[in-house]
Symmetry: C3
C-alpha cells in the first residue's frame, strides 16, 4: 500500500449478480471514487466446480476490468466456504462440536485440522495464487475470512490438546494440581485417562482448552500466509479480516448483532503475527444509536496489534433494516474509521444479494442495483478522499493510555460469571466507552503484548486471569510513576483461572493499598447516591484513600472506590459496577495523576487526534448527534482540511448533525 | 349430505371411556339434538391389536346403536397414530427430522413415504372400509387427521426432492442461477452433489423444499382418498380436517394455542382436490377474548377452497381452562360457523379423556360424564338447529373481496423476516381482521387459485413471492377497474424467493404509481400521528397520490401510504405496519373505489351475510360483547329466523351479551 | 450420636487445598468450636488413582489429626463422582437419558444400574470401610451424595420397568385400561410391544415410570447401606444428605437456585428406610430475602421421615454472591435449623475451592483461607453451642398439623399443569409458607406414611393423585373430629393419574359438602376483593357453607372457598389460588375448628417450639428482620437459654435485627 492514498472500495461478487453487469458496476464504482475491490473469497464452488477442474474466468474478468480502469484488487482465498463435492468426498471435513457433526450448508463450519480439507484447501490456494499473484492490479491477499476454531472438538483437536498438556505440564500430578482436578474425582494419573473435553466442567481446564483452540486457529492462518508468501510479490500484502465478539440484539436470523468486544475464538495478537497489515470487519448500530464507540474500540484494538495503520476490510453500507443510514451518517462512519488510524475502508458489500442467507445484509446498492441515497453519499466520501488523500493517509497516533484485554479472562468469566447479565466484554466496554466518551484516547492492548513503558496510564477491566509476571510489572509500573486503574474482578486468578489462595487483589495489595476477602450482590447498596449493579467487593483500605464508600445498612464500613499513592504513581481500584458517570470521575482524577490533559469536549463531540505523515497535529472532530451545536476552537490556529476554513482559539465552530471536521493545527 | 339439515354432533371415542356407557351417551346426544358422530380415527391399536388380527367390535357397537337411533356416522381412517407393534416391526416408520428419528408415543410423527407404513396403512384402511362402507348410517369418511409432512427430512423425501429439482430445473446451472447458489460456494455441478437439505441455509431453496414437502403430504391424502373411493357409496363423502397455523400463547404443554393463520405444512388448495367436501378444525380464544375472528378467517379460507359449504369437523366445547365458555358463548360459536358457510359443526370431543396427552382438552362432558352448563347450552343449539335447519342449511355467500394467501411467502418470510415479532401470518391477520372488524366480508384465496374476475377488490398481505404471471394479471385487474390493496413486502421476489433485481414493487410500479429502493426499521417514525411498528418502506410516489407520509426528521420526504388511479381502477399500497385504524381508513376509501358499500355496523356487532337456498338474503348478527346494546335495523324489513320477530328499517334491535340474531330480508 | 451435644462442623476437603494446611485448618475449626468434619465423598480419583491401586494417605492424615484433636469424622462413600479411568474402561457407566449418553466430567451422571459401576463402586466402598470403620473418631457414614435416578432411561432401567409393569398389572388389558392407552393407539397387546419410554406422552404412565425410577434410586441407597452395615460399628450411624427440588432464580451456572420443595427424583420416605439417621442439605436465600421458610420446610420434612432429630449435612456459609450473610444471619440460620429439630449442622464447605465447577459456592473461609467476618460469626455459634449443648440437644417436637406431600402428584401436575407458572411445589409452598408465617407448626408428611390419628388437622396442597384408601381414611378422619384443609386440584385422580370418572372431589363430596364439574382460568375474577391467579374451580356447595364466592359477571354463582361441618369434624376447601392472606383466614378458622391455639406472633417473629430432653417447653424466637422491635412475653415465666435472662408474661422482649432467643418455660 502506498501511504499517499486512502483505500476506498467494496467487496465485489460479480458471480452473485443476476447477470453480467461488470461494466455498469465499475462505472458506478468509479463515480463513487472507489479505488479497490476485494474479490474471490467464498467462491470455491465457482472456482473449482469439480475436483481439480478450475475456472478462473469470473476472476479474470474482474482483473481485466480492473487493469483497464486502474482499480486495485485484493484477492481473498476461498477456504471459508467449501463446495459440496468436497464434503461428499470426505464428510469428515465438517467440524465436530459439542452439538455433534455440523451439516453442510453454512460457512465456517469445517474442521481446520482435517487433512482432506487442508489438502484441497492448499491446492485451491496455490492455483488461485499462481493465477493472480503476477497481476499488476492485485495489491494484496486476504487469507480466509473471519477465521476461528468453529467450536472444534474433533478427535484431532483433542489429541493435539493432550499433547499440549503433556508438553506443558509434563506429569499428571502437576496437571492435577494446576487445575485442582481432585475436585469431583476429575484428577487423572495417566495421560490416557484425559477425558473427552466436551464433558469438562472445570472452568480453568476449559479455559486452557479454549486458549489452545485459539492457537490452532492462528496456526491455520499462519499456514495460509506461508502458502501465499511463496507466490506473492514484494509489493503485495497479506491481510486478514479480524472480527469481534458479536453482540446479538434480539433481531432476526442473519440480521442481528454487531461488533462488540474481544473475540473469544481467536487471539488477535497471535493471529496478526503472520499478517503484513492487520485488517478488520466492523459493524455497528446506526440511526439514533450511532455513537462511534464500536468504530473506535475496533480501530483502537486492531491498530494496537502492530501499532500502525490497518485496513477496514468490511464495514456496513445499508445492512440490516435497523441500520439504513440517515443522511450524513455513512460519511461520518467513514471518517470515524480514518480517525482511528484506518488506511481505508471497504463496504460489505457492493450490491444486495438476491437470495441466500444474507439477502438483507444490504450492500451499497439495493436489490434494484441502481443509485440510491446511500450510494450517493458514498460518492461524496470518494470525492473528498481523493481530494485529501495526501493529507489524510499515513495518519499516526500515540496514545498515553493502554486498556488491557485478555481472552483468558473472557473465558474464565463465562465459567465464573460476575453476573448473568454482565459479561467480560460488558466490563471492557464499560471501561472503554467511558474513556471514549471523555475523548481520552487509548490503545486496546492484549495483555500478553503490553509494553508498559510506552504508557502513563493502564486500565484493567475485569482482568481476572493475571500471571505473576504481569502483576510484578504492573506493580513496578506504578512505583515508577504510572497510574493504574483497575476494576473489580482484576488479579483474582492465575492464567489457568485458579484463584490465588492469598489476599486479593493478588500481589497488588501494597500497590492498591487495600484488600478484600468478601464480595456480594449489591442488593440495595448505593455509591455516591447511585445504584450499584451486578457485583461489589467489600474493600478494606489500608494505605489507600477511600474515594467512595458503600451506602448500605451492613456494608457501609467497606470502601467501593480507592486510590493509593504508591511510589511515584497512583493506583485506583473500582470495586463495583457503577454508573458510567462515577467511573468518569475516577478517570478524571486518574488522568490528573498521570498528567494527561482532559480534552475540551466530550461525546457527542468526539475528538480523535494524531499526526499526519508530515508531522502536523490532526484532530478529527466527529459529531455523533442529530442536534446541531456550536463549540469553540480549543487550538490556537487550526484549518479544516475538508473546507480549508481556519479557526483561531475560541472561534465558534458550527457542527451540523452527524458532522465531520478535520482540523490540522498550524 | 342432504342440504336440508345442519350437521350437529361430536367426535366420539367409546374406546376411551372408563366403562361401556354407549346407551347413556347416545341418550345424552339425542337430548342435545345431535345427529352425527365421528368415530374410529386414532384407534388403530384397538382396531388391529396384533399384526393382521382385526377387532371391529367397538365400531360395530356404535354403528348398531347409530342405526337404532338414526344417528349419522363419519368414519375416520386411523393412520395418524400407529400401534407400537408396527414400530417394533419396522422402526423406520418413525419420521426423521432435523432433530433426528422421532420416538414412538406421540401421534403424527411418521414417515408418510415409508413403504411399511404405507403397506400396513393401506391394509387397515381397506379392512375398515370393507367393514363399514356398506353401513346405512355411515355418511362419509374422514381420511387421516390434520395431515402434514411432519418435518420429514428422511432419505426418501430428499431423494424425491432431488428428482423434483432435476425435473424442474433440468441442468445444475439453471438450478444454481435460480437460487443464486454460488453464494457461500453452495453451487453444485452434478445433481449427485446436492447436499442434505437439513443443513441448507438458502432461504429460497428451503422454500422450494418446503413446497415440495407440502405436495408430498397432499399426495398422501390423495392416495388415501383413492383407496376409500374404491369402497364408498355414491352418497358417501370423503372429507379431511384441514387445520391452521397454531399460535401458542405461552400456556402449558397440550393446553396451548389456537387456529391462527395459513398452514405452513400443507397447502390446503392442493390437499382439498381429493375431497368431496372440505373439512376443518377451528379452535380459538373465548371468554373475554372471543372475537369471532378465527371462526371467520378459518371459515372464509375453507369455504373458498371449493366455493361451497364445508364441515367443521372439530370445534371446541370446554377445551382448556382458558376457554370454559361463558353462558351464551357456545351458542355464539355455533352460529358463527354457520355464518361463514359451515354445513354443521362437531365438538372435539364428546367427553373429557381420563388420562393421556389431552386430558385437559375438555369435551362437552366433563370428566364426571354428567350434564353440565356447557352441555346444557349445546342442547339449546341442537334444539334450534333442528327447528330451523330447513332455512339455514345450504347458506351460500358471494363476496366481492379476495384476500390472497400464499404458503411460499410464509416460508420466505421465515427466512427473510420482516421482523422477529411480525410473521407472515401476523400480516395476514392484520389485514384480514381489519376487514372483519369492518364487516367487509372476503374470500381467503390461495394465490394459485385466484379467479380475479370474480372480485372487485383484491388484498395482498405481504405477498413476498409473486410470479410474473400473477403480477401481470393483477396489473390487468386494476386496469380493468379492480381495486388492489397491497401491504409492504408484496411483490418482492419470484416464487423461488429470489428478489427481483429491478424496481420494487416488481412489475407494478406503474400500477401503484410509486417505487422504493430503501426501507428501514421505523424507530421514532410516525404516520398520521401514530407509531409505526416493525417495518417501513421509503416510497417515492410518481403518479400516485401520497395518502400519508412519514413523520420523522430524516424520512419525512417519503410516502407511507399511496393511492394510484390506474386504468379504470385504483391501487393502494400500505408501506408500513400501522395501527389497524389507519388500515381501516384505507379500506374505507378503497371500498369506495370498488363501489362496495360499507356495512352499517362494526365489530363487536358482526354481520355476516349470504343467501338461503331459496334465494333470500340472510344476515347473521353476531354480538361479540358482554355489554348489551341496541342497534337499528339497516334493512327495510327483516325477520329473525330464530324468534320470528320482524324489524322494519330503523327499528331498535336489542342485543344481549353474546347474542345471535338471524335476519332474513323480506 | 450422643444426645448431649450438638454437632457443629463442616465438609472438609484437604485434597482440594492448594497446599497441606491441615494443622492450620484444624486450629481454625477448633477456634470456631467445631466438633465434626465430613470427608472423603467425591474423591474416588484420589482414593483409587488407578484400577485397584488405593491411596488412603489423605484420609489417614485427617483421621490422625481428628484423633489428636477430638474431632469427630463422618466418612462419605465416594460413588457420586467416578474417576475417568473407570469410564475409559467401560463408557457404558455414563447414564443414558432423553438427551442420550452423558459425557464424563460432571458428577451424578452415572447409570446406577450398570454392573461395572456397581462392581467398582462396591470394591471402593468395601476398601474405604475396611480402612476407616474401626477408627475411633469415625462416628458415622454418609452413603453417596444427594442421590437420584439421574434421568436414567437406559436399557436396564426400561427392562426392569417392563418387569415391574408385568408384575403389577399382570395382563396388558388391565394395563391398557389403567392408563387409558387406547388413546392415540398407545394400547399394547403383548408386553414385548411396550415402547421405549422416552417417547411416551401418557402422563399417567410417565408418572408410574418416574415412581419406579425413584424406587430404583432408593434401592441403590439401600444397597450401599447394606454394604456399609457389614463393616460399621454399633455406635456408628448411616446417613444420607437428602435434598429438595432446586428452584432456579435465574442467576449463573453453578451459582443459582435454592432448596424449594418436594424432591421429584427420589422419594425421601422410601430412601430413608435404610438410614439410621436422616440427613439433609438445605440452601436458601439470605440477605434481604432471608425468611427462614426453607429451613423450616426442609427441617419439618426431614424430621417427619423418622420423627426424630436429623442431621443438616450441608448448609451454606458464604456460598453465592447473593448470599454473603449480613452480620447476625449466619447465627440465625444455625438456630433455625435447631428449632426444626436438627441435631447439628455442617457447612458446605470449609474453604472456597480455587478452581472447578463450584469455585463461587464459597465456604466459611474465602479463597484467601484466612479469617473473615462470616468465619468469625461461626466462632460465636460454636462457642454458644458448646455452652448450651446440654439444654439444646435432643429437642423434640409434637405437631398437631400434618401437611401431606406426594411425589406422584408432583409428576402428574407436570403433565397436567394447573398453570405454566404454578407448579405442584408452588402450591405446596403456598400452603406451607402460610402456616409457617402464622407460626402454626406442622409435620410435612409423605402421603404414603400418614398416621392420621396423630394429627388434629391435615392440609393437602394439590393432592392430585389420591388412592381410594387414602380418601376413605381422610373421610373417616374428619368424621371422627379431624379438620381437613384441601386446595384445588386435590382428589382428582387415582395414583396412576387417571381422573376419577365421577363427581369431584372424588369420594369426598359428602365430606366437603360440595362438588364441581367445571373450572376455569380466573381471568378478571376476584375473591373477597382480591385477584385470583392461575386456576379456579366452579364449586356448587350442597351441605357446605359458602365461605367466599367469586366476583365475576359469569362465575358469581359459584363458591370459591367452602367449609363443611361433617361428623365431628370440619372440611375446608379452597378452590382457587388466592393471596396468602385469604388462605391464612381459612387457617385461622380451621385451627379454631381443630382447637389449635393461634400463636401470639407472626412472621417475621417466628416461634418454633418443642420440648427439651428433660421435658421442658422450649421456644425458639427467631427474628427474620432488619428492623428492631419489641414483643411481649406470651408465657408466664420463661428464661432465655442463651443469656439467662428471665421474662414474665407481658414483659417487653427486645429483638435486635436477625436476633435469636431461646426461651425455656418454667
Amino acid at each position: 500500500m502506498e501511504r499517499k492514498e486512502l483505500l476506498f472500495g467494496t467487496a465485489y461478487y460479480p458471480e452473485y449478480m443476476p447477470w453480467d453487469r461488470i461494466d455498469e458496476d465499475f462505472d458506478m464504482m468509479e463515480k463513487a471514487g472507489m479505488n479497490v475491490v476485494r474479490i474471490a473469497e467464498s467462491t470455491w464452488s465457482t472456482l473449482e466446480k469439480e475436483d481439480g477442474v478450475f475456472d478462473f474466468s469470473y476472476i479474470d474478468k474482474v482483473l481485466k476490468k480492473a487493469e483497464e480502469t486502474g482499480m486495485k484488487v485484493i484477492i481473498g482465498t476461498p477456504t471459508y466456504a467449501v463446495p459440496s463435492w468436497l464434503v461428499k468426498k470426505d464428510p469428515d471435513i465438517m467440524v465436530t462440536t459439542k452439538e455433534g457433526k455440523a451439516a453442510y450448508g453454512h460457512r465456517q463450519i469445517f474442521d481446520i485440522l482435517n487433512p482432506t480439507y487442508l489438502h484441497y484447501g492448499e491446492r485451491v490456494i496455490r492455483r488461485l495464487l499462481e493465477h493472480t499473484a503476477f497481476h499488476p492490479s492485485v495489491i494484496g491477499f486476504q487469507i480466509d475470512n473471519e477465521t476461528k476454531h468453529y467450536g472444534n472438538d474433533g478427535e484431532e483437536m483433542q489429541r493435539l490438546f493432550r499433547e499440549h498438556l503433556q508438553e506443558k505440564y509434563k506429569d499428571t500430578d502437576t496437571f492435577n494440581r494446576t487445575f485442582y482436578l481432585s475436585y469431583w474425582s476429575n484428577s487423572i494419573h495417566s495421560w490416557d485417562d484425559l477425558p473427552d473435553m466436551r464433558g469438562c466442567v472445570n472452568g480453568g481446564l476449559v479455559g486452557e482448552y479454549e486458549a489452545f483452540k485459539r492457537t490452532v486457529a492462528a496456526r491455520f492462518l499462519a499456514w495460509q500466509a506461508d502458502l501465499v508468501r511463496e507466490y506473492k510479490r514484494e509489493d503485495q500484502f497479506i491481510t486478514h479480516n479480524l472480527d469481534f465478539e458479536w453482540k446479538k440484539f434480539g433481531a432476526d436470523i442473519a440480521q442481528d448483532g454487531y461488533s462488540y468486544g474481544v473475540q473469544p475464538d481467536l487471539n488477535h495478537q497471535e493471529a496478526s503475527r503472520c499478517l503484513d497489515i492487520a485488517g478488520t470487519d466492523i459493524y455497528h448500530p446506526t440511526q439514533d444509536d450511532l455513537t462511534g464507540a464500536e468504530i473506535a474500540f475496533g480501530g483502537d484494538s486492531i491498530r494496537s496489534l502492530q501499532d500502525k495503520n490497518y485496513l477496514v476490510l468490511e464495514c456496513q453500507a445499508q445492512a440490516f433494516k435497523y441500520w439504513t443510514p440517515y443522511p450524513g451518517q455513512l460519511r461520518l462512519h467513514a471518517y470515524s474509521h480514518l480517525a482511528s488510524g484506518a488506511a481505508g475502508e471497504m463496504y460489505w458489500n457492493w450490491h444486495s444479494i438476491h437470495n441466500g442467507y444474507e439477502t438483507y445484509w444490504r450492500g451499497l446498492l439495493s436489490h434494484d442495483l441502481q443509485s440510491n441515497p446511500t450510494y450517493r453519499e458514498a460518492c461524496v466520501i470518494g470525492r473528498e478522499w481523493k481530494e485529501h488523500a495526501e493529507e489524510l493517509a499515513g495518519f499516526t497516533k500515540k496514545n498515553r493510555i493502554a486498556l488491557l484485554v485478555d481472552n483468558r479472562s473472557l473465558t474464565a468469566l463465562k465459567w465464573f460469571p460476575i453476573d448473568r447479565d454482565l459479561s467480560y466484554n460488558d466490563v471492557v466496554r464499560w471501561m472503554y466507552d467511558s474513556l471514549y466518551e471523555m475523548n481520552l484516547e487509548c490503545d486496546v492492548v492484549d495483555v500478553h503484548a503490553l509494553k508498559e513503558d510506552r504508557y502513563d496510564m493502564i486500565v484493567t477491566p475485569a482482568l481476572y486471569c493475571a500471571g505473576e509476571d504481569l502483576i510484578r510489572r504492573l506493580d513496578a509500573f506504578v512505583k515508577r510513576g504510572g497510574v493504574l486503574v483497575s476494576s473489580f474482578r482484576s488479579f483474582v486468578s492465575d492464567e489457568q483461572a485458579s484463584v490465588y489462595p492469598d489476599a486479593q487483589p493478588h500481589g497488588l495489595t501494597d500497590c492498591f493499598g487495600m484488600t478484600y476477602n468478601q464480595f456480594t450482590e449489591p442488593g440495595r447498596a448505593m455509591i455516591k447516591g447511585e445504584k450499584i449493579q451486578y457485583f461489589m467487593e467489600l474493600m478494606k483500605p489500608e494505605s489507600a484513600g477511600r474515594e467512595a464508600g458503600y451506602e448500605h445498612p451492613y456494608w457501609g464500613e467497606y470502601a467501593g472506590i480507592t486510590r493509593n499513592a504508591y511510589g511515584n504513581g497512583a493506583a485506583w481500584y473500582v470495586g463495583c459496577f457503577t454508573e458510567k458517570e462515577l467511573l468518569k470521575e475516577v478517570y478524571q482524577k486518574a488522568a490528573k495523576d498521570a498528567k494527561i490533559p482532559l480534552p475540551a469536549y466530550t461525546w457527542p463531540v468526539t475528538i480523535r487526534s494524531g499526526r499526519t505523515k508530515e508531522g502536523a497535529d490532526l484532530h478529527y472532530v466527529l459529531h455523533y448527534s442529530q442536534e446541531e451545536r456550536d463549540i469553540t476552537c480549543p487550538w490556537d490556529l487550526a484549518e479544516d482540511v475538508l473546507t480549508g476554513k481556519s479557526y483561531r482559539r475560541d472561534d465558534r465552530i458550527h457542527l451540523k448533525d452527524w458532522d465531520v471536521l478535520i482540523l490540522r493545527e498550524k
